[in-house]
Amino acid sequence: MSNDVTWLTYFVLSVFVGIEVIAKVSSTLHTPLMSGANAIHGIILLGAILVAGDADGFALVVALVAIVLAAINMVGGFVVTDRMLQMFTRKPAAKRPVEGGGA
C-alpha cells in the first residue's frame, strides 16, 4: 500500500492509543505524567543522531547542538520524573523514627 497512507495509519492508531492509555489517570499524577511524556519526546535524540551521522561543516555543528539539546530533554526528563515519583511511592519507607502514628 502507498507509503503515505501507511504513515497516516500509524499516526491515527497512535492517536487512539495515546488518548486511551492515559484516559483513567488521577489528577494526582497529572504532573508526573506530563513530565514522563515530556521525557518520551526526547527520543528526537534518535533523529538528531541520524542527521548528525550524515552531516559535515556547519550542518554538523547544528546537528551536534540538536543532539545536546535532545539528550538534555531525554535524560533530564526521565530523571526528574523518577524523582517526582519517588515522592509518591514512599509508602514502605514512610515508617520513620518519629512519634507520629498513622491516621
Partner: protein, 462 residues
C-alpha cells in the same frame, strides 16, 4: 534499514506505550517511567549498529554533554521548581526537533537543486516541525522565566499584541507555503524566527498560575513536531512516540484545565479579552475574627479530630516541614489528624502531594478530596494553611464566580475553621471568600512559616 532494526524500533514504540500506561496508575508509575527510559536508550543505540554513521566520536561527546547537563540539572532542582524544569526540558526538545527539521530542509534543498522532485507531504511536515518546534522552544523559555521569577508572572499584555500574534501566524503560514513550493534555506530560517516570536507572544499574556497548563500544551506541541520529524526521517519509533505524546499531552491538557474549572482558550487568551487570568488581589475591610497563636493552639489542643488543608501559601512560605512537625505533635497527643488534598491546591496538579511527601509526611495521612469530604461534618477544627480558592463555597453558590462549578473541600461544614494567611487578600481566582467572615472562622495572620512555628511552640507548651 535492516529488518531487525525495524523490529527493535517497534519494540521500543511498544515500550513507550507501556510507559504511558504505567505512568497513569499510581502503583505502576515509577516502573512505567523506567520502561520508557529503557526504550529510549535502546532506540538511540540502534542506529550505531545499522546506520553507516559518520562523526561517531563527536556524536558520543555531544550525547555525553547533554546527558550530564540533563541528569545534573534534574538531580539538583528543588521539588518546588519542578514545573520550570519540565518546561525547560520540553523547550530544548522542541528546539532539537526544529534543528533536525532545518537540517532535513537543507537536504531537500540540495536535492531540489539537482532537479529531484521532493514529495510535498515531506515539506509540509518539515515546515510544521520548524515552526512549531520553535514555538515550543521560545514559549517554554518564557514559561521558565515566569516561574523562576526572572520576569513578572502576571499576564503581560500590550495593545498591539493580538495583531502581532495574528500577523506572525499568517506570516508563518505564508512562509510555510514558500517552503512547500520550493525547499529553500532562507525560508526555513525565517520560519524558525517566526516560530520563536509566536512562542513568546503566545505565553506572555498567560498568568503565572496558569503556566502549568501551558507547559502541558507546549509539551503536546513538541510531541507532534517529533512525530512530524519521524515522518520526514521515515522512522517509526519517532512517529509513534511523538504521536503518543502529542495525543496524550493534548488530552492531559484538557483534563488539567477541567480539574481547575477553566477552559484552555480562556487560559491562553483570557487576558487579551480583558478577563484577567490572575487574581486581582483586592482586600476587603469587612470585620473578621482573628486570634493569636496561643488561642489557636488551645483550640487544637481540645480538638479530637483535626483536618489540615494545605494550599499555595504553604508552598510559598516553604512551611511544609514546620507543618509536619505540628501535626506530629498533635498525633502524639492522641488527636486524629489528616491532610485533605485538593487536586489543584497549589500551582501545579499534585503540588501538595509532592510538597508534603518531600517533607516526609506519611502517605496514609494524605486524603484525596472525594475520600475526605464526608468527614468535615465530624471535624472539630480545620486548619487551612495558605489555601483559599479550594475551600471557597462560592464554587457551589455563586454562578458568576470564576471558580463556579469547581469541586471544593467542604470545609464550611466543620465546627471550627482556622485560616493561616498573611492578609485579607484573595487567592488565585481573585474573589472574596465568604468563609473568612463566618462566625465559626478564626484568622491567624502572618507568613505561614512564621505562624506555624509559633503555633508549634504554643502547642508543645500546652
Amino acid at each position: 534499514m535492516p529488518t531487525w532494526a525495524e523490529v527493535v524500533f517497534l519494540v521500543c514504540a511498544v515500550g513507550f506505550i507501556l510507559a504511558l500506561k504505567g505512568l497513569s496508575g499510581p502503583r505502576t508509575a515509577r516502573t512505567g517511567n523506567l520502561v520508557g527510559a529503557g526504550a529510549a536508550v535502546v532506540a538511540c543505540v540502534v542506529p550505531f549498529f545499522y546506520a553507516d554513521l559518520d562523526n561517531v566520536a563527536l556524536i558520543l561527546v555531544a550525547i555525553a554533554v547533554g546527558t550530564v547537563i540533563g541528569a545534573v540539572g534534574a538531580q539538583r532542582v528543588q521539588m518546588t521548581q519542578m514545573p520550570q524544569m519540565v518546561a525547560l526540558f520540553n523547550g530544548v526538545g522542541g528546539g532539537a526537533a526544529a534543528l533536525v527539521a532545518l537540517l532535513e530542509l537543507e537536504h531537500f534543498a540540495d536535492a531540489a537543486a539537482v532537479g529531484v522532485d521532493v514529495d510535498a507531504a515531506y515539506l509540509v511536515a518539515t515546515a510544521f516541525t520548524i515552526l512549531v518546534g520553535a514555538v515550543s522552544f521560545s514559549g517554554s523559555v518564557i514559561t521558565f522565566a515566569k516561574l523562576q521569577d526572572l520576569m513578572t508572572s502576571r499576564p503581560v499584555v500590550f495593545p498591539g499584541l493580538p495583531f502581532a500574534f495574528g500577523g506572525a501566524f499568517l506570516a508563518g503560514l505564508v512562509v510555510s507555503g514558500v517552503v512547500v513550493d520550493e525547499p529553500v534555506m532562507w525560508a526555513g530560517i525565517v520560519l524558525a524566527v517566526l516560530g520563536l516570536a509566536l512562542g513568546v507572544l503566545l505565553v506572555l499574556p498567560v498568568g503565572g498560575a496558569d503556566v502549568p497548563i501551558v507547559i502541558s500544551l507546549l509539551n503536546a506541541f513538541t510531541g507532534l513536531t517529533v512525530a512530524a520529524g519521524g515522518y520526514v526521517l521515515q522512522n517509526t519509533v519517532l512517529l509513534v512516540a511523538g504521536t503518543l505524546v502529542g495525543a496524550s499531552g493534548t488530552f492531559l491538557t484538557l483534563l488539567m484545565a477541567r480539574a481547575m474549572g477553566r477552559s484552555v482558550s480562556n487560559i491562553l487568551f483570557g487576558a487579551l479579552k480583558g478577563g484577567s487570568t490572575l487574581g486581582a488581589g483586592e482586600a476587603s475591610d469587612r470585620p473578621v475574627r482573628s486570634a493569636g497563636p496561643d488561642d489557636v493552639a488551645i483550640l487544637l489542643g481540645y480538638a479530637e479530630k483535626v483536618i489540615v488543608v494545605p494550599g499555595y501559601g504553604l508552598a510559598v512560605a516553604q512551611a511544609q516541614h514546620t507543618l509536619r512537625e505540628l501535626v506530629e505533635v498533635l498525633l502524639a497527643r492522641g488527636t486524629e489528624v489528616d491532610y485533605a488534598i485538593h487536586p489543584v491546591a497549589g500551582r501545579m496538579p499534585g503540588h501538595m502531594n509532592v510538597l508534603l511527601a518531600e517533607a516526609q509526611v506519611p502517605y496514609e495521612q494524605l486524603k484525596e478530596m472525594d475520600d475526605i469530604n464526608g468527614e468535615f461534618r465530624q471535624t472539630d477544627v480545620v486548619l487551612v494553611v495558605g489555601a483559599n480558592d479550594v475551600v471557597n463555597p462560592a464554587a457551589r453558590t455563586t454562578p458568576s464566580a470564576p471558580i463556579y462549578g469547581m469541586p471544593i473541600l467542604d470545609v464550611d461544614q466543620a465546627r471550627q475553621v482556622v485560616f493561616l494567611k498573611r492578609s485579607m487578600r484573595p487567592g488565585f481566582a481573585g474573589i472574596e471568600n465568604e468563609l473568612l467572615f463566618e462566625p465559626t472562622t478564626t484568622l491567624l495572620f502572618g507568613d505561614a512559616k512564621d505562624t506555624l512555628g509559633k503555633l508549634l511552640a504554643a502547642t508543645k507548651a500546652l
